[in-house]
Every structure is written in structure tokens, then in C-alpha cells.
Symmetry: none
Subunit: 407 residues, 2 copies
């Protein structure tokens, strides 16, 4: 008996007037998710806490049972690991965007027109040497995204972002955070790297080609989310379960790798709204044959929420649900948990601190009155309102693998 945990990113939402004030999930026809609800226990889940607005990284760590207060090493670490970079203890990792600056060095696009062909740019940047003696390595991400890590003696990842996080602003100089004078060497290395990288990018043949095609050039590099890997137990050490991950997005693979999950390669999983649902579900079902715990991630709900596309979010949920018929059979032998990492209300086009619905269904589960999987119905369920850090305790409990507290 194992556990399949399905996370719909940004699942929760707020009332949508077009749906008579139902949320996209309340409006969606999702008979397979409803089947799970009717055979299990439902509730609401705050991945961090009531009213706290989680990012996807901290939310996933928390749901996997790793308190982000202790084990969140910064987004840069997770991105670099997710990109498959060889992150070592002591490396300073950054999350990176390729962006576009004008002649006055003002950022006019933080995503360089969502450029999708950065391989040659990354190769060029990897040739840069720094006068500080610190080694710098760049890893290619999806679209405009990349990772950068700095390696060498005496660096400390306590520095500010070189990214102003807004357009129509100049790039920022990277600085040691207040009280961390030892971070000066890293800040200097970052600033030297950004300066040399922007010079390389300005004259790169690819950007010349893009300008000729009236496309925005990727002529600047924006570093943010500095962090260094810290001590962290593996998922298996912490919960006694072997674990696998099926996801498209690099971040989710990064969190999974960080805690030692086996990341299963599904070439047609995109991490976008258009993805290969069937291949992902098939891979997760197969993984459950050799892993105690399988994490299956769907990104589209979050992307639709960030676009404010309520109809798209509803359609995505219905499309995903049509591929979940296998859960009827699977839940006879296994525990199935479905939830989100946070809410991304279409009205806000951003994450919110509203809780997400959660269902525990299948072998070993209690049952409650709830028959539909959505925000409103799950709020009346027998799980009541739990936190992300409680999810794995409940998983172990249902699996009959919880240690006895006392004697």
C-alpha cells in the first residue's frame, strides 16, 4: 500500500461572478475528484498557516513535512537543483531571468519577450571568468529562466537581489544584507558577473538576430533569491517512505530532488497549461509500483489563475479530471491525496493566503458527508482545517506507519 499525492498548483480560488460566484473548481465538472471526496475525508489546508500567502517552494516543502522555517534555503537553491545543476554545500545559488534593457539601462521587459532559445546565451555566459577568483556556473531553464551559482572560498549567500522585480526601473547593484559584511566577496562577484554578462549579451549574435526580427533582445541578466544548500534529511529518512516525483516545472523537481525523491522523466510533461496529462498520470501510476509515495504535480491551475483566466482554470481542471478515472481502481489498494499548494485567485492574478481543499481517499481512510471536491464542500469535511506540516503525519497514519507516541 502506497500514497499518491496530487498537487494542483494554485488550486484554490475566490468567487467568480461569471460562475454565479462559484470558484472555478466549484463550477467544474470533476466526477473523478468527486468520487474521491465521496469515498474519503475532506477538509481545508493552509500550507503554511491561516491567511499566510505561500510561495510554491515553501508550500511544497511544508506539504512534504519539511518546516520551511528550518529547511527553506532560498528559491535560488531549488531552481538550480531543479535545472539539474550540480549544487554543492557552500555554493551561492540564484534564480535568474534573461531580460531586456534599453540604452539607458532601464529594464523594459523582465522576460525578454519570453524568449525560448537561450542555450547559446548560456554557453557564452559560462565562459566568463571573474577577477575575484570565484567560479560562476550558469544553467539553462525553461523560456527566459536560468540558474546561476557561485563557487569558491569565502562566499556567503546573504546578499540582496540585483533584480528590481519591476519594469521601467534600473538594474540594482547586489549588496551584502545588513549585518553580513562577510558577504562582500559574493556581492562583488555578482556585480562583476552581471556587468560582464550584460556586455557579452549586448553583442551576442542571437540578440542581433532577434533585433532584426523585431524581437526583444535578451540583453541583461537578473539575479535574485540568493541561497545556499543547508543540512536537510531525506524524505525517506524523515518518513520512512521511498518517494518519486512526476512534474513538469523545474521548481517542483528541485524541491523533490532536494528531499531525495526520485524525479521521473516524462519528456512530454511541460510544466505549462498544455501538457501530456495521460503520460504524467501513467508515469505516476507506474511509479507507485516501486515507490511508497508518489508526488504528481499539475501546474496549469496556477498559470490560469495568474492570467486571471477563470474559464481556462475550470477547463484545465475538467481536462485533468478526465485523466483521473484510474483512481477508482487505484484507491482500492492505495491512499490518494489531492490538494493544492496554495490559492491563485483569478481575481487577484496572484497567490493568496486562502486555504485549499484537500481529500484523503482510498484504503484505510475514514469517510465523511462530503461528495464534491471543492473549496465550499470540503470546508464541511471531517479533516476540518489542517496545515501543510500535518499532511505527512496524516499520510503515515492512514498507511499504518505512524510511530507510537508514548508506550
Amino acid at each position: 500500500m502506497g500514497c499518491l499525492l496530487i498537487i494542483f498548483d494554485g488550486l484554490g480560488d475566490r468567487p467568480v461572478p461569471f460562475f454565479s460566484n462559484k470558484t472555478p473548481l466549484e463550477a467544474a465538472h470533476t466526477p473523478n475528484l468527486d468520487f474521491l471526496a465521496s469515498k474519503g475525508v475532506c477538509g481545508l489546508m493552509d500550507s503554511i498557516g491561516v491567511g499566510v500567502r505561500p510561495a510554491s517552494d515553501t508550500a511544497h516543502l511544508s506539504i512534504f513535512g519539511f518546516d520551511p522555517k528550518k529547511y527553506y534555503f532560498g528559491r535560488g537553491v531549488l531552481e538550480c537543483i531543479g535545472l539539474g545543476m550540480d549544487v554543492r554545500n557552500g555554493d551561492a545559488c540564484f534564480r535568474v531571468n534573461f531580460g531586456t534593457i534599453n540604452s539607458k539601462k532601464i529594464i523594459i521587459d523582465r522576460r525578454a519577450g519570453r524568449i525560448d532559445e537561450t542555450g547559446k546565451l548560456v554557453d557564452s555566459l559560462n565562459k566568463i571568468k571573474l577577477s575575484t577568483g570565484i567560479k560562476v556556473i550558469v544553467g539553462k531553464g525553461v523560456q527566459h529562466r536560468a540558474g546561476v551559482l557561485f563557487r569558491g572560498k569565502g562566499i556567503l549567500a546573504r546578499v540582496s537581489d540585483a533584480d528590481p522585480h519591476e519594469e521601467n526601473k534600473p538594474m540594482l547593484s547586489c549588496k551584502p544584507l545588513d549585518g553580513f559584511v562577510e558577504a562582500r566577496l559574493l556581492a562583488d562577484s555578482v556585480n562583476e558577473f552581471v556587468s560582464k554578462a550584460n556586455a557579452v549579451l549586448a553583442n551576442h549574435p542571437l540578440n542581433k538576430k532577434r533585433r532584426a526580427q523585431k524581437l526583444l533582445p535578451a540583453n541583461c541578466i537578473l539575479l535574485r533569491g540568493a541561497g545556499s544548500l543547508g543540512e536537510i534529511p531525506s524524505f525517506r529518512q524523515k518518513w520512512g517512505l521511498s518517494a518519486s516525483c512526476v512534474a513538469g516545472g523545474k521548481l517542483y523537481k528541485g524541491v523533490a530532488k532536494l528531499v531525495g525523491m526520485k524525479v521521473i522523466d516524462v519528456p512530454t510533461a511541460t510544466g505549462k497549461a498544455e501538457t501530456d496529462f495521460k503520460a504524467k498520470v501513467d508515469a505516476a501510476v507506474k511509479a507507485l509500483k516501486s515507490s511508497d509515495f508518489v508526488f504528481l504535480h499539475f501546474k496549469g491551475t496556477d498559470l490560469m489563475g495568474e492570467d486571471g483566466n477563470a474559464v481556462g482554470k475550470k477547463d484545465y481542471l475538467e481536462k485533468a479530471d478526465r485523466h483521473l478515472g484510474v483512481l477508482h481502481q487505484l484507491s482500492k489498494e492505495h491512499l490518494i491525496v489531492v490538494t493544492g499548494d496554495h490559492s491563485t485567485p483569478c481575481e487577484l492574478k496572484a497567490h493568496s493566503g486562502d486555504p485549499v481543499p484537500i481529500v484523503f481517499s482510498g484504503r484505510g481512510c475514514r469517510r465523511d458527508h462530503v461528495t464534491h471536491f471543492n473549496e465550499r464542500d470540503c470546508s464541511t469535511g471531517a479533516l476540518c482545517r489542517i496545515t501543510g506540516l500535518q499532511v505527512m503525519n496524516e499520510v503515515l497514519n492512514v498507511l499504518g506507519r505512524a510511530p507510537l507516541y508514548g508506550d
Copy 2:
């Protein structure tokens, strides 16, 4: 106005197919418990935390408002106190089984055929003197159970169990736990005692008689759960309430004595499934005349759960309920709280981390929509989901005795 707290041990359960996926409590006809539910507020309670699988000792401590992280001194202490032994600060206490070993010193029965006549064995063991100068005292328990305490200068109860907890294994040598070299004297004393005790038992007349009767001899003694009494306030000091306990099982009497409750002797209370419900309820009702708080414990639900006997668990609950008619009258003047210490699902035959239903009913209580006392209905109640450590706060609140927080 006082409070009667009724705890059904191992009350909660999981869906039972034979009961159309109801739990034993959901399937049971319990009009008196339902009366309480319909006149009070219901909810679910995790005695330790969501998904945490509690033992009975830590669960009861928590429900009485004593955080087991701070006040759990090991099962040995509670057992010895429960047996009426004179446990003093510094004594090292163990929980003990009489067992059966074969000629190769392999344990073939950890309960010596559930022997029920150990008085003379205990008397013989109490004559043993140790070369370490440490005094050893044995206390008789129910059936194969006993308690042993070691008293003397320089002992520290940080030692491993001499009991392998499994049959077809050899007995273990007692050792200091990692990092506790000061526990060597106790470990040596335990090993010397076990060796001498087994020698005494091997040739004991009672065992010769048992062998002649083709019964398993009680020819070994298994020590586990080492612990020493620590500082702990009394129930009255902590909550300002005088308290009494009506229970059959030694452990429950032990927890009650530990926190200074008056343990009321009900000679016909057995701590087994067959018990004198009427005498226990009568004793509790009477105790409520002179105590602010009365704890009434029923063990049968847990025993039925551990036997996987769902029909037996349902029948036991119905039988108990028939003796609770007095609560209609009693709840006019007093607060009645009914709950479990943990779940013991028949499917698992073991404790689980599933929450238990809880009702606060009677004078001073709010009311909610719930009209039946069981897992599913209580999950929709106004108490929502609380923890064991919150129970006494709510008791004080309903009694109008909660201190003002602030000024």
C-alpha cells in the same frame, strides 16, 4: 457544578464493510450519548496532534492538560504507580511481563499463557538481593503483568529494554542508552535481577504445578519502559479542581494518581470488556458530589478494537450507553464530556492517529446541529477539531472557572 469526563479507550474507528462502511460507534444505537450530542457541542479531538498515533499513557496525560513532552516519565512509572507501589523520586520504574522461555532461553510466550496467579511468584522475587547494593521491589499486576522498581544511590533510568517485544527471540541484556554512561549501575542491577529472578522462577513450585497441568510456566521476567518520576504539579494545582478517578485498568489509575486524583476503588471494575458498568457509573455519579472533576474510564472499546472485533465494539458501546441514562438528569447540573483517548480501528487491531469524537454537554454548554455522537457527525460540530491539551481549557471555560487572560 462539576465536570464528568468519560473516556472510552480506543473509541475511534475506521469504516467497517460489515456495517456498510460505518464505524462501530456510527453503527451503534446509543440514545444516551446521542442525547448529550443533541444538547451540546461536538467536534473531533486529536489527543496529541493531527495524524499522531498516541499511546494510552501520553493521550490521557494530554487530555488532563499535562503536556507529555514535559510530563511523560515513561510507561514504567505509570504502571508502578497504578499498581499502588510506593514510587519515590529517583526510583527507576519498569513495566514487566511474566513470560515463558524454552531450554534455549528463547521467548516462546510473552504472557506465560496469560497466567492469572502471580502473587506467590512476586513474593519470591521480592526476596532477591542484588550485589550492586540497589534495592529492588516487585509489584503484582493483573494477569501476567507486574511492575519493578529499583531504588538506591547513583541509578539513572536511561537504559534499554530487556524485553525484545517479540516472541521467538532471546531475552536482551539491559544497556545504558547512547550517551548515558551514568546508567551503567542501573543496567547492571537490572541484568543481575533478571538473571536471579529467572533462576528463582525456573524451580518455583507454582511453575512445577503449571508444567504438570500442561500450562506454560512463568519462567522469565521481561522488563521494559524504564523511567523515573519527575516534577509534576497536581491536577488541583494546575486547574484548581479537586478530581477523582473511576477506572479498572492499572495504567489509568496510575496516570490519575500521578496527577494527584483520588482513585476510587470499585472492586467489580475489571479493566476488561466484561465489567460492572453500573457500579462504575454509580461510583462516578457519587464522586461528583464531592469532587469538582470526575474521570470515568471504560477500557472495552480498545480491547475490542485490538481484537479486530467490530461487532463486539458496537455491542460494548450499546451496553455502556444503557447505563448512561443518569446523564439526562446529571447534565442539568453538571458539564458532561465524552470522548476517547485515541482510535483503535478494528481493521488495524492497533492504535491509530485518527481523531476521536468529543462532546461537551450539559449546563453552560453551547449547542450545535449535531444530534448523534460518532466520528462522522461530530466532525461537523461547533468544536471543530481540537487537541487533547485544549480539553481542560474548555472544561474550565464551561465551568466558568477560566482565569482572565489580560486585565
